[in-house]
Symmetry: C5
Subunit: 88 residues, 5 copies
């Protein structure tokens, strides 16, 4: 799993029904210190994360489908938690 910062939302049409009632978040991957790495991922939001929040990203299809309660959804990345603190 990776840390990311919510940077915005993605609006898409003509996609699979699983996305109909879901927010797709643009998440910038960050270092443990919170610096942007230059990479990003588009993830489904299941924790109601807001812009600027640091989140935990799960980027794995089977786990992503499970947390959505779907067995056949075309998804891979999900925001599974909001990060309160990284203790180093």
């Amino acid at each position: 799993m990776k840390l990311a910062r919510v940077a915005g939302t993605v609006v898409s049409t003509f996609n699979a029904p699983i996305f109909d009632n879901q927010r797709l978040l643009l998440c910038d991957l960050v270092s443990p210190a919170g610096e942007a790495t230059g990479d990003y991922v588009i993830a489904v939001d299941v924790v109601d994360a807001g812009a600027g929040e640091t989140v935990l990203i799960l980027d794995e299809g089977t786990g992503a489908r499970q947390i959505m309660g779907e067995t056949t959804a075309p998804i891979r990345a999900v925001v599974v938690g909001i990060i309160d603190e990284v203790d180093v």
Copy 2:
């Protein structure tokens, strides 16, 4: 999931039957701002995306097979949506 821009199509022979009636798209991966990253992916088109359109790519085999309605297809990447807007 990642953002990409449809750059063209790929014509292939001697491939698996699953590809017979499908368009294979050459998709350039892009940043959230729409800049080419230099990487690409060949993806099956299930949303009838046109050249130049920004799309959402799912690069995961199980989800790709599910959206194709196939349980045993040799595919991994699928265009699952056309992006209307990235709100940052």
Copy 3:
């Protein structure tokens, strides 16, 4: 599988129940010689690893769920062992 050094812990809320009684470790990926690579992974700890210890990381969802004894958990990376020695 990869080698990593435990660098700290991650405190998260609003996450999936599977994480409730688990420690999430910030693990810096290292070379066989123990040098930081600059990359990291957030992993569930199943071996009670301490800060500074070199560990073996499994970054694969199905195996991660199995070692946790869960069939439907949104996890992908797990610390599966503490490294005593790398013989080169």
Copy 4:
């Protein structure tokens, strides 16, 4: 899926039975324009691809096993098609 150019073959012993009657191809990953990227993959050949040909690589275990007609083979990458043309 990715584009690659067949660069040679790999001869291996002491490997799994699934490989006994299969050609293992050394495939250089290429850009859509056909330039080598510097990366490569060892893939099982199911389309009888020849040296120098541009091919479509599927790098995913479940799909690779399916196209081989095996449910328990230790393979991940397969040449699934020969590319005739990339229309950009």
Copy 5:
């Protein structure tokens, strides 16, 4: 699949039972010409590979478990063959 050269062994405690009777190999990923790429993988040895030998690495959980004859082992990378020759 990738080519690698066996560089040593990893000694670990507190790990999963599946590792109890297995050798964990430190494998340096190499180019087809045999040059180190700077990356590595820790893999289970199922072909009794020796230090310095060039091997074929399968880095995929399901296939790795299958070749080990286990359905629930926390492993992902396995040495599946010893390379005799790369014909370019």
